[in-house]
């Protein structure tokens, strides 16, 4: 199967800090990939490079075989949920959704599952500035799914969500996977990644330590749980 996203020799520094050091990776047409790694290992930076929000110093990202540099049409096929969703303060929830549809000029075939599951439609008149962090996350999640994208990129999607809301999101992620979508998730909650992911990619100080199926990882460590397996493999390597 052809890879939908390919990252080749990607390098990125912020000032003197080398955040990504020659990252090479690729993601196939479907399935859930859990991107793990300690804080500041470059997960968000990698995701933002794929989305063209961070411009790499060297290397190239390909989406559907085409380089993403200086292009933007490919973003139609990506739903992105940022780690920290930031929205225009004065805008109301309803206005935000309306504006996104207007800007994209897409009004049909919308996926409003999360809007109704989270009861966001009942809060359409609330201004974004007055929302709690978790509600903002719900808006981000609903927005990421709204246009039925082929690829979902979720940066710590459940951080800040209450358990019930997190459960709803996980069900949604499973449902999207069943439709054959590719879903990239970063998370620090290993039990959650354990439930969701097919593959694990581990980033450490700007390098990919490994990228393999979850089952292979567990077999290698001889452990049933991702948390234990990860600890074992990472301590062995030191």
């Amino acid at each position: 199967m052809e890879n939908i996203i390919e990252v080749k020799q990607l390098k990125k520094s912020f000032g003197k800090l080398q955040v990504l050091k020659e990252v090479n990776c690729s993601f196939g047409q479907g399935g859930i990939v859990g991107i793990l790694g300690p804080n500041a290992s470059g997960k968000t930076t990698l995701i933002k490079s794929i989305l063209g929000m961070v411009i790499p110093d060297a290397g190239e990202v390909y989406f559907g075989g085409k380089p993403v540099a200086r292009s933007f049409d490919y973003k139609k096929q990506i739903g992105y949920m940022p780690q920290i969703g930031r929205y225009p303060d004065n805008m109301k929830i309803g206005e935000l959704f309306k504006m996104m549809k207007d800007l994209r000029n897409v009004h049909d075939n919308l996926d409003t599952d999360l809007i109704s599951a989270y009861g966001l439609d009942a809060m359409y008149d609330k201004a974004m500035r007055t929302l709690s962090g978790g509600t903002r996350q719900k808006v981000s999640a609903a927005l990421a799914c709204l246009f039925n994208p082929k690829v979902l990129i979720l940066d710590e999607p459940t951080a800040g969500l209450d358990p019930l809301a997190a459960e709803i999101l996980k069900d949604k992620i499973h449902a999207e996977k069943a439709k054959g979508k590719l879903i990239l998730i970063t998370s620090h909650i290993l039990t959650e990644v354990d439930e969701l992911a097919d593959d694990i990619m581990y980033l450490f100080e700007g390098n990919i330590k490994f990228h393999k199926p979850l089952s292979a990882l567990k077999a290698e460590a001889g452990e049933q749980k991702l948390g234990k397996a990860l600890t074992k493999i990472l301590t062995q390597n030191v």
Binding site: L51, M53, F72, K75, Y87, M99, L103, R104
Partner: protein
Amino acid sequence: MFKIAKYIALDIIKSKVVMAYTLLLMAICISVFLTDADVTKGLVSITTIMLIIVPLVSVVYATTYYFNAAEFTELLVSQPISRKNILLGKYIGISSSILSAFLIGVGVPVLLFAFGSTGIILILTGSLLTLCFISLAFLASVAMRDKAKGIGLALMIWFYCSIIFDGLVLVFLYALSDYPLEKVLIAITAFNPIDLARILVLLQLDIAALMGYTGALFQDFFGSGFGIVFSFGLLMVWFVVPLIISLRVFRKKDL
């Protein structure tokens, strides 16, 4: 691009700042015309005030708004919209609001009280000056990462154009008073959009000679007609070039 501009303009109209700016300009113009019987003198007074307020408000407001809307920009960049259209959309949204404020606040009173070619030149010059300083505001905004530095730079630009520049010219003249400097001085004027705007209005009024050294030089050197075209062209450069540079910088900016 125009959709983005529409959302930004709608957002700005809701805020009170642009409304206050409109009313301030209007109050100044009307009181000048009501107290001064001589229309030409009235236009000179308005020009003097306009050359201070218009650049200051344009550059500071546009920079502040740019940074306050950083979230919106971030959201847009993750969407299938080109960076060029995002920045131009922002530019059109912000400049159309500030420009409308100017046209209502200064344009309407001037046309009512002092309809004529001078009034029209004044309105055109003020509009162009507004656009120049919004372009400069964009340049300051894309060049800086955080709001405080961006606004600081915007203020520096204004400070340079309206105060420091004149001082530098004087020092320059004084230091080199033994040489024939007229042509050099004309070239130097091109480096300050506010000076260009001043000369543009005063040449039209045919009283440039009364208003400082560079004005007199311009009139001598070009005659009024060509001088107007020349300074108009240079103001256009001040409007377009910073905007083009901002687009280039923004294309490579991390969000």
